[in-house]
């Protein structure tokens, strides 16, 4: 495998989790921010209610593609936390703001495994 192909490789389950996290962020915004609905309908002619329902369907569909183990953990985290996947920036987990040991962070470099923060249990994604 070329270096470029290796860099682009990502565990499909992590990819799904990240997609789900992003969709949930859009969904939450439409549900909770009046301004979001206003901007989307005024400038982009989007019906916020219909868009929300469409996002719900997509979220449910992607959740169905999670492996049972990942799904179980996802559902455990969900009720207690706003975000299922959190970024790790400069070695700090943005779910709990605790420093993640360098070794754990180092293992994440390849993003080939779905891993979590040992402290708060969130799935993590290393950023920059």
């Amino acid at each position: 495998m070329t270096a470029a192909a290796d860099r682009a490789r990502m565990d499909p389950q992590l990819m799904l989790l990240l997609e789900l996290q992003d969709l949930r962020a859009q969904r939450k915004e439409l549900a909770e921010s009046e301004q979001a609905g206003q901007v989307e309908s005024e400038h982009f002619h989007i019906d916020p209610t219909a868009a929300g329902q469409e996002l719900d369907l997509k979220i449910a569909e992607l959740e169905g593609e999670l492996d049972p183990g990942v799904r179980a953990r996802y559902e455990r985290i969900l009720p207690s936390r706003d975000r299922v996947v959190v970024p790790v920036i400069n070695g700090v987990c943005y779910g709990c703001f605790v420093s993640i040991p360098t070794a754990t962070a180092g293992d994440q470099e390849s993003h080939t495994d779905v891993q979590g923060c040992e402290h708060c249990g969130s799935f993590i994604y290393i950023l920059g």
């Binding site: 470029a4 860099r7 682009a8 990502m10 990819m15 990240l18 997609e19 996290q21 992003d22 969709l23 962020a25 859009q26 915004e29 921010s33 301004q35 979001a36 901007v39 005024e42 400038h43 982009f44 002619h45 989007i46 868009a51 469409e54 996002l55 997509k58 975000r83 996947v85 959190v86 970024p87 920036i89 993003h111 994604y125 950023l127 920059g128």
Partner: protein, 150 residues
């Protein structure tokens, strides 16, 4: 914060080369200089937003936008496609000017929606599409924002 302060020269490309909606999105994403994996996620999230309804607001302008975990601060980019491209815009016309806006899920300063509104407002100024067509280098874009953008 004024729009001018949110753009940098690196985030401006006046000669987009792509010929399809998907490829234009990818070319815009490249202006943000993210890791390849993050680019792939961002592309999927932007596509999902486009599937809800095109961000082509008419008059040759599109404003692809989303929140994504892959950025840690509000990021903006501007791209121009001189020949235009079909972006399923609201008016059915080709799109020449693209403003990309990506925000993290949580922002301390909560600038995302106000900035999105400001870009839309700027783009709807009847003078602006013509001014965007006339620009010769990326600095002209920043100067135009300085002069005309909220």
């Amino acid at each position: 914060m004024k729009l001018r302060q949110l753009f940098t020269l690196d985030g401006v490309n006046l000669e987009l080369e792509s010929e399809s909606k998907d490829d234009i999105l990818k070319e815009l994403i490249q202006l943000l200089d993210l890791e390849e994996k993050s680019e792939a996620i961002l592309f999927k999230t932007l596509k999902r937003r486009e599937n809800l309804g095109s961000t082509g607001i008419g008059k040759g302008i599109a404003i692809p936008h989303c929140r994504s975990l892959v950025v840690n601060e509000l990021r903006l980019a501007y791209g121009r496609k001189p020949g235009g491209v079909d972006f399923n815009a609201i008016d059915g016309e080709p799109v020449y000017n693209f403003f990309l806006i990506v925000a993290p899920p949580l922002e301390v300063s909560n600038q995302y929606l106000p900035v999105l509104g400001k870009i839309a407002q700027f783009a709807k100024d009847p003078d602006i599409p013509g001014k965007l067509t006339e620009m010769e280098d990326p600095q002209d874009f920043l100067d135009l924002l300085e002069d005309r953008a909220p």
